[in-house]
């Protein structure tokens, strides 16, 4: 029984990369794929990227991205398609859109307010 499970494990290790092996990528395409994998959220394991995840959904998305790269799509086009299908949440970096302005500018606004207050306090004390 032990040997059997060991054989199964070895087989799994040998054959798991098969799905990717048939798709040959150039070095440049490969680095682009990795970049996109790290930018795509795995929706079934939400705090992980598909780069870090081995879930079925992540594997599907990786294959999809590789296919799109081979088909000659740009990173921007691929990301756009993913957002169209799954929503903005699929990307790790939130888009720079109107609904996200507070998210992007909020910390700077608060920092600015703090700086103004500090300045006023210092100026007053100097007087």
């Amino acid at each position: 029984m032990k040997t059997r499970s060991l054989i199964i494990i070895i087989f799994l290790f040998i054959f798991s990369p098969v799905a990717f092996a048939e798709l040959k990528l150039t070095k440049e395409q490969d680095s682009r794929a990795t970049e996109l994998f790290k930018e795509t959220r795995c929706l079934v394991c939400q705090s992980q990227t598909i780069y870090d995840s081995n879930s079925e959904m992540a594997t599907d998305l990786k294959l999809y991205i590789i296919e799109q790269i081979i088909a000659g799509k740009s990173n921007y086009e691929i990301e756009n398609q993913l957002v169209k299908n799954y929503g903005e949440w699929i990307l790790m970096t939130p888009a720079f859109s109107q609904s996200n302005y507070f998210l992007w500018f909020g910390p700077f606004i608060i920092l600015l307010l703090g700086a103004i207050m500090m300045l006023r306090y210092i100026l007053k004390n100097n007087e």
């Binding site: 959904m57 599907d60 999809y64 299908n85 799954y86 929503g87 949440w89 608060i110 306090y121």
Partner: protein
């Protein structure tokens, strides 16, 4: 003197703003993401059907129905089995067309599933490798979409329970039918 007092309250205001955001997050069920397709047209897709190699299921089929319900299922998906009874009930509603997308399944198992539990669907599309369902943003089955005149109205993730049928699905359908 008054101006200084306002300054003292700013940290409190900032903390309050953050608390509002925090409570919004806590109230949201992050497991259930809303679909990017809501209020958008039915995505372009085309797949072979379970019962015939010649006929296809595509966006035109779904757009041709006044009110359509698209359910993504598989024979290996245990919640789908539980949900099937609900789909059988829904199939009795006049004016509502049910379409199935058979997700990453073996044909023989899918056929057995329908033979045993009944066929609520007008047409069943087959998505063998899960690729065609990507345009629907499918990431965990069962998933159900309600479509009105070619526009996606609602997405339900997970099996439809009886109470969800009564309190969510039927009220939406009642408005559309």
């Amino acid at each position: 003197m008054n101006k200084i007092k306002i300054i003292y309250f700013t940290p409190v205001v900032i903390v309050l703003i953050f608390l509002i955001f925090l409570f919004q997050l806590l109230n949201k069920d992050v497991k259930k993401l809303s679909s990017a397709l809501i209020e958008k047209p039915v995505p372009e897709f085309e797949m072979q059907t379970l019962y015939s190699d010649i006929t296809l299921l595509n966006s035109n089929d779904i757009n041709s129905s006044n009110v359509a319900l698209v359910n993504v299922w598989a024979s290996w998906c245990i919640p789908c089995r539980a949900e099937h009874e609900i789909l059988m009930l829904l199939s009795k509603i006049e004016g509502l067309d049910l379409y199935g997308i058979n997700y990453k399944d073996k044909k023989i198992n899918a056929l057995n599933f329908i033979d045993n539990l009944g066929n609520p669907f007008k047409k069943i599309g087959v998505d063998k490798n899960g690729r065609s369902s990507m345009v629907w943003g499918v990431y965990g089955i069962p998933e159900t979409f309600i479509i009105h005149k070619g526009t996606v109205i609602y997405k339900h993730i997970g099996p439809i329970h009886l109470n969800e049928l009564e309190n969510v699905i039927l009220p939406i359908l009642a408005k559309l039918l």
